[in-house]
């Protein structure tokens, strides 16, 4: 195949993709002349080039389609039928192009069927009363263009817009001229593939559309781009990977030789390599929109087939990611959008009955977050049918009824990712064939991504996918187990814990299962050497080692290794096909010292540990989320200032520290200590700072939003798990009251009192407190710190408190049937803010009358007004604790009176 034809194929395929998308847009917005102009121009270009290259079938088809579009451009009413017809034509064009690519020549065949239909429509369009011509925008066509002459004009396309055809020729000419060039210019960077060409506006639909018809000139001055063969880029990437490896090796050597004269030039080499790596990675980056391009058409066709009205919204199409990753997520994305359209959205009739807009919406969004890209696919459909999933789980014996009982809805929903799971009652041509979400999950897992699902009955489903930006070079932690080194991808490592006998981090066993107590949670552990069967003859040292705390999706577990070295940027090399069956590894890499090591696949380890882990962890999570006060609360018991035992909820304490007394400094009459690179104020319980005279001073560190405060204590007594029952509430500032802990009267400290002592503005963002009878209160705040703090505070005030970490979660709890007397909600929350939450509550009859109190640091009149409109009964500034108590009291009184 000659270069000219190949170039034509690439370009035409691209143009047709654009036409696909634009046509769907056009159908929705038939009066948008700019879109039509763009489509018309693209098809015209294709036709012109086909004529030039001697491809009669393509030319005839493009011509017929163009004729019909010409009618639309002249003001004939646009029909869905017509657009469908043109889309069919586009499909046929693609088919022929496919054959052309394979065979190098246009295949035999007859397109009379399509052409005659298109012609019939053109004639019908003529007959239809012509609407006001939309001609103002279109590139002023040749003088002969007038509605009455449409038929004749269509037969002589050259007349329609001569400049168009000229442009087609101009471009073709340019390529003819350039085509032989690569051979000559082969030695530079990109061999055979580089062909300079002004990027056509065709490839940038958005721009072309906004610029309307006058973009012919733009074709020339558009951004300069270079078309490079993908293989060339891949090769370049491999070379850069090698360079990175060599650089690492050199660095390793120089590290061993102090004062090497290579140091400086090597540093320079290192920087250049890093930049080069960045640059090459960038060439591999593509906007995610490329993977979405086909979706509007798919959704449109689905809508027609299923008789649903579907709106597809796409946000963040410009978000870039590695093309390797892009290729891998294309199919899962398409599948999920199909799923949303088919199962997610209800039929028009049902939607109307449910009081929703008839048109269903599928929303796709993408954004960057850390080294990840997050893609969300959401619909406003019926949500997942939990009962049906349960039934299916039982049918397929994936879990027992008893197990199901214990699961949260979210856990049950996760089963849709189980192999062979499809809940569609009827198998449609669209989806529901049983190969579904499990394939999606497998694909996502393969690239080290995670998938999460959130569904609200009647309101829709959101699937969130989090995937790494690139797979080629990742940062990894190098660990050692049984004498072998392994790389653990940094992205899944949360923290490192050193386990030692007698330290607070001690490996314990429940039967044969090793676990670690980590900040009041049990972390399941797995010994890497056992998992990999490399334990050898030596007995496992049960008590010491390093624990790599790893997170995969919602699972958290610890991998026990013997040694932890540094982190290194490693180049991921695919594993040999002979090793690919080992799920514990995701690849191999070459370290700086030249040795090959295996890359641990956290997903593989997670599944090896088994599903038990995930259930366990999820339950703990769910429990802590609900914050049900009947649950046991871990209290940290200590002494400070006086003999009486004091306690705070352990979950509030970020860390227990001991600092050397001589490290405590004074400034502005306050005690400070340098802590993790910042100054941390110290506060004492009694107000009078009694520091130890020598040795080290124990501190309780409290942190929130990057700030830390140290509470000076004399001695830490114990950690006690007990139901917190504050029996005597106190009026003393700083005390919530007294409770019996382990048979001893203990003062429960109100940390809320001490935080502002350290930072006066601590509560500018978060805070609260209350007073009431035993009434049920739902507290919504996104900060775990304030949620945890509030439970004892409100308990002290006599409320039965349930907490929620987000508006959506709170709504779920409300819909769960629990009756609440009052709801207190934070305003500044991610996803659903307090206003939206209150509005959502008001919209539901069941809790429209439940009083809601807003808590916010925003106290300007506008915010207060907004809150009133949203349906909040009262609005309390976050730092106004007395105000909140008063507000709660008032609400209680109102209710009491009303009752």
């Amino acid at each position: 195949m000659d270069d000219l034809l190949r170039e034509f194929l690439t370009e035409t395929n691209e143009s047709l993709d654009v036409v696909d998308v634009e046509l769907v847009r056009f159908e929705q917005d038939p009066n948008n002349a700019a879109i039509l102009g763009n489509i018309f121009r693209l098809v015209h270009t294709i036709k012109g080039t086909c004529g030039f290259l001697g491809l009669p079938r393509l030319e005839a088809l493009a011509h017929a389609a163009e004729t019909l579009m010409g009618k639309y451009r002249d003001g004939s009413p646009v029909t869905g039928q017509g657009v469908t017809m043109i889309l069919f034509t586009i499909d046929r064009l693609k088919e022929i192009l496919g054959d052309l690519e394979g065979a190098g020549a246009e295949p035999e065949g007859d397109d009379g069927d399509l052409i005659s239909q298109l012609e019939a429509m053109s004639i019908a369009a003529d007959a239809a009363p012509a609407a006001a011509p939309v001609a103002e925008k279109a590139p002023a066509p040749a003088p002969t263009a007038a509605p009455e002459q449409a038929l004749e004009r269509a037969l002589r396309p050259g007349e329609v817009s001569l400049d168009e055809l000229e442009r087609a020729f101009r471009e073709t000419e340019a390529e003819v001229a350039v085509a032989p060039l690569p051979e000559v210019a082969a030695p530079p960077v990109a061999p055979e593939a580089a062909k300079v060409e002004a990027k056509k506006p065709a490839a940038r639909p958005a721009k072309a559309a906004s610029a309307g018809g006058d973009d012919e000139i733009e074709g020339v001055k558009g951004q300069q781009t270079l078309r490079v063969n993908v293989d060339t880029l891949e090769q370049l990437m491999t070379m850069v990977s090698e360079l990175v490896l060599t650089r690492n090796q050199l660095l390793e050597i120089v590290r061993r030789h102090e004062d090497s004269e290579f140091k400086v030039p090597l540093q320079r080499l290192s920087n250049v390599t890093a930049e080069l790596q960045d640059g090459v990675m960038k060439t591999r980056m593509q906007p995610i929109g490329n993977a979405w391009q086909k979706l509007p058409r798919i959704v449109r066709d689905l809508g027609n087939e299923l008789g649903k009205q579907i709106d597809l919204e796409m946000h963040g199409a410009e978000t870039e990611l590695d093309r390797q990753v892009l290729d891998l997520i294309k199919d899962p994305l398409t599948h999920m959008v199909r799923n949303s359209a088919d199962h997610g959205l209800e039929a028009t009739e049902q939607r109307r009955l449910a009081g929703k807009p008839e048109k269903g919406t599928i929303k796709l969004s993408a954004y960057h977050e850390g080294g990840h890209i997050v893609i969300a696919i959401s619909d406003d459909g019926r949500g997942l049918n939990t009962d049906r999933i349960k039934k299916k789980i039982l049918e397929q014996n994936l879990a027992t009824e008893a197990e199901l009982e214990k699961m949260t809805e979210a856990q049950i929903h996760k089963y849709i990712f189980a192999p062979g799971f499809s809940t569609a009652a009827a198998v449609t041509s669209v989806s529901g064939r049983g190969v579904g979400m499990d394939v999606v999950r497998t694909n996502i897992d393969q690239i080290g991504g995670t998938i999460d699902l959130k569904s609200v009955p009647g309101e829709g489903t959101t699937v969130t996918i989090k995937i790494p930006l690139t797979l080629a070079i990742v940062s990894a932690l190098i660990v050692e187990s049984a004498g072998d080194r392994f790389a653990v991808p940094q992205l899944s490592v949360i923290e490192l814990v050193r386990a030692q006998q007698n330290s607070e981090h001690r490996i314990e066993r429940i039967k044969d299962t090793p676990v670690l107590r980590l900040r009041n949670k049990l972390l399941p552990l797995v010994h890497l050497r056992q998992l990999l069967g490399i334990a050898g003859g030596e007995t496992l040292d049960e008590t010491a080692g390093f624990i790599v705390v790893t997170q995969v999706g919602s699972q958290t577990f610890g991998i026990v290794v013997d040694q932890v070295f540094h982190t290194e940027e490693i180049v991921v090399k695919p594993m040999s096909s002979k090793l690919r069956h080992i799920t514990m590894f995701s690849g191999t890499t070459i370290l700086g010292d030249g040795s090959v090591i295996m890359i641990i696949d956290p997903n593989g380890i997670a599944s090896a540990i088994g599903t038990d882990v995930s259930t366990e962890v999820n339950e703990t999570e769910a429990d802590s989320r609900r914050g049900n006060e009947r649950q046991l609360i871990s209290m940290l018991v200590f002494r400070a200032g006086s003999r009486e035992q004091k306690a705070v909820p352990l979950s509030l304490v970020t860390r227990l520290e001991e600092v050397a007394v001589d490290k405590i400094e004074q400034a502005h009459g306050r005690h400070l200590v340098q802590y993790r690179g910042a100054l941390m104020p110290l506060v004492s319980v009694s107000g009078y700072m009694e520091l130890k005279s020598e040795g080290s001073q124990p501190l309780l560190v409290f942190s929130d939003s990057g700030r830390s405060m140290g509470l000076v204590v004399d001695e830490i007594v114990d950690i006690v798990e007990d139901a917190l029952n504050i029996e005597v509430s106190a009026d003393v500032p700083g005390l919530l009251g007294s409770a019996v802990i382990k048979g001893q009267a203990t003062e429960i400290l109100d940390i809320g009192h001490y935080l502002p002592l350290a930072f006066e503005d601590w509560f500018k963002r978060k805070e609260m407190r209350i007073e009431a009878l035993t009434r049920k209160l739902l507290f919504v705040d996104d900060s775990p710190f304030f949620r945890n703090m509030l439970t004892p505070v409100l308990k002290a005030a006599g409320y039965d408190v349930v907490t929620a970490a987000a508006g959506s979660e709170a709504l779920d709890i409300l819909k769960g049937g629990d009756k609440f007397d009052v709801v207190v909600s934070d305003i500044e929350m991610p996803e659903m803010n307090g206003f939206e939450f209150a509005e959502a509550m008001r919209a539901d009859k069941r809790f429209a009358t439940t009083p809601v109190i807003a808590l916010s640091s925003l106290t300007n009149p506008a915010a207060i007004e907004r809150a009133r409109v949203a349906g909040f009964h009262d609005y309390v500034a976050k730092f106004d604790r007395q105000g909140l108590i008063a507000a709660l009291k008032e609400t209680s009184n109102e209710i009491a009176q009303a009752a």
Binding site: L532, S577, H581
Partner: protein, 152 residues
């Protein structure tokens, strides 16, 4: 197979457990000393490990284990023959490398029917040489074997 104008095939000869084997020279990329072999936990026993050969990652296959030849107590694989297959690099660990022989098909015979099945699967025939026999190693079968056994 890899024939020259006179229908002569060139073989790289290697010794594995005292037996002479021949690999078609066109399939042999290089011969190297395996250095710093990293074992791969959970892999098939005949996978000796992976190693770095000039920036490429090579999967080493222990031919003794593959052929069911007992390992001598202190014998470390002294040499490896580098082979490419479907874009991947492999190294066959052998005892030693001999000379390159040009052999005409005349001296080539079918596998004896009573040959150990493990050997028969990787052997493409036998050449009668003076004083000894040379088993022709079918490289693709050697590499395919791992897959079969895994699947089984």
């Amino acid at each position: 197979m890899q024939t020259t104008s006179d229908d002569v095939t060139e073989y790289v000869t290697v010794l594995i457990g005292g037996q002479l084997f021949g690999l078609p020279i066109s399939r042999v990329q290089d011969v190297f000393m395996p250095d710093r072999l990293t074992r791969v936990p959970l892999s098939h026993p005949d996978i000796a490990g992976v190693l770095n050969l000039r920036g490429r990652i090579v999967t080493a296959i222990d031919m003794r284990i593959r052929l069911g030849i007992a390992r001598e107590k202190d014998a470390k694989p002294a040499m490896a023959v580098g082979i490419e297959s479907r874009g991947e690099s492999y190294g066959l660990l052998i005892d030693s490398v001999g000379e390159v022989l040009k052999l005409s098909p005349d001296s080539r015979e079918q596998n004896p029917i009573n040959l150990d099945s493990r050997w028969a699967r990787v052997s493409a025939g036998v050449h009668r040489l003076e004083g000894q026999l040379m088993v022709i190693l079918d490289v693709d079968s050697v590499l395919a074997m791992g897959g079969e056994q895994l699947a089984a």
